[in-house]
């Protein structure tokens, strides 16, 4: 009788969502209380009760001890700068950073091509270099793309070129 009750309680409690390993390619393919874990391409739904997907935010450019929204860069000179990203989601991730902007700006990310490890709640200072050509319009609009666990986060930013 005791074992029967235990079995009944176990059955009523239901199987944990993680144990079901529901296949997914996006959060929209998971139950409402779950998210799709794409980090290692196991692509299964995980319960939000235990974890949450990574979420990347762009804080700004690092200038000394300050975080600024825009930076000034000299033309015809390669300079290295830093931008700060924050993982305010609910799980660790690897972030691949890309910069897209005018070709004349010649901006490239210096982070690892396979992604930088970023814990939940932590920040990543990502270096990039920029070498604006003469005549490049200023300010130049760039798009910072952070891909974390197959999730793409895009942020517009502005780089001013010194005269």
């Amino acid at each position: 009788m005791r074992y029967a009750l235990l079995l009944l309680v176990t059955a009523c409690a239901g199987k944990p969502l993680e144990d079901l390993e529901i296949a997914c390619t996006a959060d929209s393919e998971c139950p409402h209380d779950a998210w799709c874990d794409l980090r290692y391409h196991n692509d299964v739904c995980l319960s939000l009760a235990h974890s949450a997907p990574p979420h990347i935010a762009f804080d700004g450019f690092v200038l000394g001890q300050q975080i600024v929204k825009t930076i000034w860069v000299p033309p015809k000179t390669t300079t290295i700068h830093t931008l700060r990203l924050r993982n305010d989601g609910g799980s660790q991730t690897d972030v691949i950073v890309k910069l897209d902007g005018p070709a004349c700006l010649d901006a490239f990310s210096l982070t690892r091509g396979d992604g930088e490890l970023l814990d939940e709640g932590d920040t990543l200072d990502a270096d990039f270099d920029v070498d604006p050509a003469v005549g490049c319009a200023s300010p130049a609009m760039i798009t910072i793309t952070a891909t974390a666990s197959d999730r793409v986060f895009s942020f517009p930013a502005m780089i001013s070129i010194s005269p």
Binding site: L7, G14, K15, E21, I22, D27, S28, E29, C30, P31
Partner: protein, 270 residues
């Protein structure tokens, strides 16, 4: 040689002894084992007295008086039984009818039962009816006695459907079929439970194999939960139902056996 001489001496001595005196005794008249006219006057007088007392004396006492001849086991009484049979049967029949009319089922049953025994144990619908009425009256209070009466009634008149029904009703386990149904239901529940659990596994495998829109996933999960609850519930309930059926059958077995009342059989020794 010596033994031969000894034997000759003994023979000679015996032949020389004087003869013993004879004693003549007057014999008692032989005991009669049957009355000369077939029935003893006392028996005739007793049956006449019973005949005249029907309607005035207690009927159970009259039954006793008729049965004196059949309860006595001496040769003289036994010899008269055959001759007294027609009169006894007729008197017992009348006593039984009167007792039955008066609602005295026990005396009526005794009278008819004795009549049937005396007359050779043939079919007796009147006895069957009285015994059945008695059995019906006592069925709740004393089912063992009622079962005995019903069976005796059935023996008296195999064609009496009331007696047969009562015998079947009292002697039968009424929970056999409900119990069997419960046992079968338990196995059916187990089968359905196993099927439901297999559906759960199938849905889980399908969810793991193919990605699909979230609303379809939600729907599949709800279906899975339904099958899970049903399957698990039935698998747990199945042995309980089957075991309950066994208990039901067992509890339905009559806890009594046929018990004869003190009044029957009216002529047990004959």
């Amino acid at each position: 040689m010596r033994p031969l001489l000894l034997l000759l001496c003994l023979v000679a001595r015996a032949s020389a002894a004087p003869p013993e005196p004879s004693i003549d005794v007057v014999a008692a008249p032989p005991i009669e084992t049957a009355p000369a006219g077939g029935l003893d006057p006392d028996v005739v007088a007793r049956l006449d007295a019973v005949d005249q007392a029907i309607g005035t004396s207690p009927l159970d006492a009259l039954v006793d008086r008729v049965l004196v001849l059949y309860e006595s086991d001496d040769p003289f009484s036994r010899a008269q039984r055959e001759a007294a049979r027609p009169r006894s049967v007729e008197l017992l029949g009348r006593i039984g009818e009167r007792a039955r009319t008066a609602g005295d089922l026990v005396t009526a049953a005794r009278a008819f039962d004795a009549r049937r025994t005396i007359s050779g144990g043939g079919r007796d619908p009147q006895l069957a009816q009285v015994l059945t009425a008695w059995a019906e009256r006592d069925a709740k209070a004393s089912p063992g006695r009622a079962l005995y009466l019903a069976r005796r009634a059935r023996a008296a008149d195999p064609g009496d459907s009331r007696a047969a029904d009562l015998d079947d009703d009292l002697g039968k386990n009424h929970r056999v079929w409900p119990g069997r149904l419960a046992i079968v239901a338990g196995f059916v529940a187990l089968a359905v439970g196993i099927y439901a659990r297999s559906r759960v596994s199938a849905i889980e495998e399908d969810l793991a194999m193919h990605a699909r829109p979230g609303d379809q996933v939600e729907s599949a999960l709800a279906e899975r939960d339904r099958y899970d609850a049903i399957g698990t519930g039935l698998i747990i309930a199945a042995p309980v139902i089957s075991f309950g059926g066994v208990l039901l059958m067992w509890s339905g077995k009559p806890s009594y056996s046929p018990t004869s009342p003190a009044e029957l059989p009216a002529l047990g020794g004959r």
